[in-house]
């Protein structure tokens, strides 16, 4: 019965009561146990008669308040709005940098996530903090270096970190998933700094190559790899020697034909099973839109916003508790870029980012 009494003492610690009251309750229970033992009841019978301590805890809530756990992390989070205001005004008055000094306000939701994260396990919370970290880095690089494009690539770090943090299982599948984002980042950076987009876009095909190795079915694996290698080889040959990279794309009809014939390429909209297939479809569609609108209107500076649809849809489908807070960084970026790009009001458009802390405060429980 010692275990039962220890558990009782532990639960009583949760309530605001004097040590005397706590000792009295424990003494009463000891007396009850003595009574029961005197009547010949076994320890199992006594525990059954006393009942589950959760019911006692529930009943005591009528008479005693639960202790409010106060800790330093709450203090730091509560202080963050004041710190943000001080930084904002200091940076504004001293260096006339109201923009991007306003990003100090992003410290408010970030500090909440950080301190809560340190308390519960930092690794998990890094994924939650990534939208804020990337927005801050994006604004700083965009403002200081005027390189909004390709600074937006930072947003691809959000799914990248999420994949890295998603556990140690399925390592190979994770590498395949990551190759999609690394390929994209490498492709855009090479294109940005050298002006060469072909044949470097082949980097986007990395997941197809790596994905083929995931299959344990050998004929399937060799067929996919062979079709890919032949298509890529022919594409490079036609591009280099016929010097027409657009015409060279016809080489991929080999891969597409074999893929469709043998069922490697299927388009399935699967809303079940964590929406994985649907999200892949969204990603592919947004990449197509990004390239199509960027190429047709020479508007890569704004067409990359289509790529934000993947994390937005992922949040809409998967996030349960803090849907609006998780989506707000993306919505703010879209609003900011659209206002800046089309109306050329970058200097005031940053105000859109205030929806991030506002949403976090409204949604905070």
């Amino acid at each position: 019965m010692k275990k039962y009494l220890n558990e009782l003492a532990r639960r009583l610690e949760k309530f605001e009561m004097t040590q005397e009251e706590r000792a009295e309750i424990i003494a009463d229970y000891e007396a009850m146990i003595d009574d029961a033992l005197a009547q010949g009841l076994s320890e199992v019978d006594i525990e059954a008669k006393l009942g589950d301590l959760t019911s006692l805890e529930a009943a005591l809530k009528d008479d005693y308040n639960l202790k409010v756990k106060s800790s330093n992390r709450h203090k730091y989070v509560a202080l963050s709005p004041f710190v943000a205001i001080i930084i904002f005004f200091l940076v504004g008055f001293l260096w006339d940098a109201w923009h991007p000094g306003w990003i100090a306000f992003l410290l408010i939701p970030l500090s909440g996530l950080l301190f809560e994260g340190l308390h519960r396990g930092f690794r998990f919370k890094l994924t939650a903090m990534m939208p804020f970290i990337t927005v801050i880095a994006f604004i700083l690089i965009g403002t200081i270096l005027e390189a909004w494009h390709p600074a937006w690539l930072l947003f691809l770090l959000i799914p990248t970190i999420a994949i890295i943090e998603s556990g140690d299982e399925y390592l190979y599948e994770k590498i395949t998933g990551l190759s999609l984002f690394f390929g994209m980042i490498a492709f855009v950076l090479i294109g940005y700094f050298t002006g060469v987009y072909a044949p470097t876009w082949l980097l986007l095909l990395l997941p197809l190559f790596l994905g083929a190795f995931e299959s344990k079915h050998e004929p399937y694996r060799y067929r996919v790899l062979l079709a890919l290698i032949v298509s890529v080889g022919l594409y490079i040959y036609l591009g280099l020697f016929v010097t027409n990279w657009v015409l060279a794309l016809l080489a991929f009809t080999i891969y597409l034909t074999i893929g469709l014939l043998y069922g490697h390429i299927t388009i399935v909209a699967d809303y079940e099973g964590k929406h994985a297939t649907f999200l892949k479809l969204v990603f592919v569609m947004t990449v197509v839109l990004f390239l199509l609108v960027g190429y047709t209107y020479n508007a890569y500076g704004v067409s990359w916003l289509f790529l934000l649809m993947t994390p937005i849809v992922a949040v809409a489908l998967n996030e349960k508790d803090r849907k609006a807070s998780s989506m707000s960084p993306f919505i703010a970026v879209i609003g900011f870029v659209l206002l800046g790009y089309f109306l050329n009001i970058w200097y005031i458009a940053w105000l859109v980012f205030l929806i991030i802390p506002m949403t976090a405060i409204i949604e905070d429980r």
């Binding site: 029961a36 005197a38 008479d63």
Partner: protein
């Protein structure tokens, strides 16, 4: 049954049981558990609350088998409260039966 309602009714029963005979909390639960599905962990907080409210007083009696026993005894205030509860309870039951039909008092 709604746990809040059940707790309220058990409170009246505990007052009645202790008013019939001064007894220890274990004996109260023994009396109750033979007829109702309740555990000590439900009854004990009620005994404690009623004592705090002055409806019970406690005293200890020596026990040959261990530590002295705490015995609950109803006070004049408790008796008055029990009477009030019983009157309300009977009136409530009558009204319920009038509407739903059933036991005639």
């Amino acid at each position: 049954m709604n746990s809040q309602l059940k707790r309220g009714i058990v409170e009246i029963i505990v007052l009645k049981v202790v008013s019939d005979r001064s007894q220890s909390s274990f004996n109260v639960i023994e009396t109750l558990s033979s007829k109702l599905s309740v555990s000590e962990n439900t009854v004990y907080p009620i005994l404690r609350r009623l004592t705090k409210q002055g409806y019970f007083k406690t005293h200890t009696v020596p026990s040959p088998l261990g530590a002295p026993k705490k015995v609950y005894e109803i006070t004049a205030l408790g008796t008055e409260k029990l009477q009030m509860f019983l009157n309300e309870w009977r009136l409530f039951l009558k009204q319920v039966f009038d509407i739903l039909g059933g036991y005639e008092t």
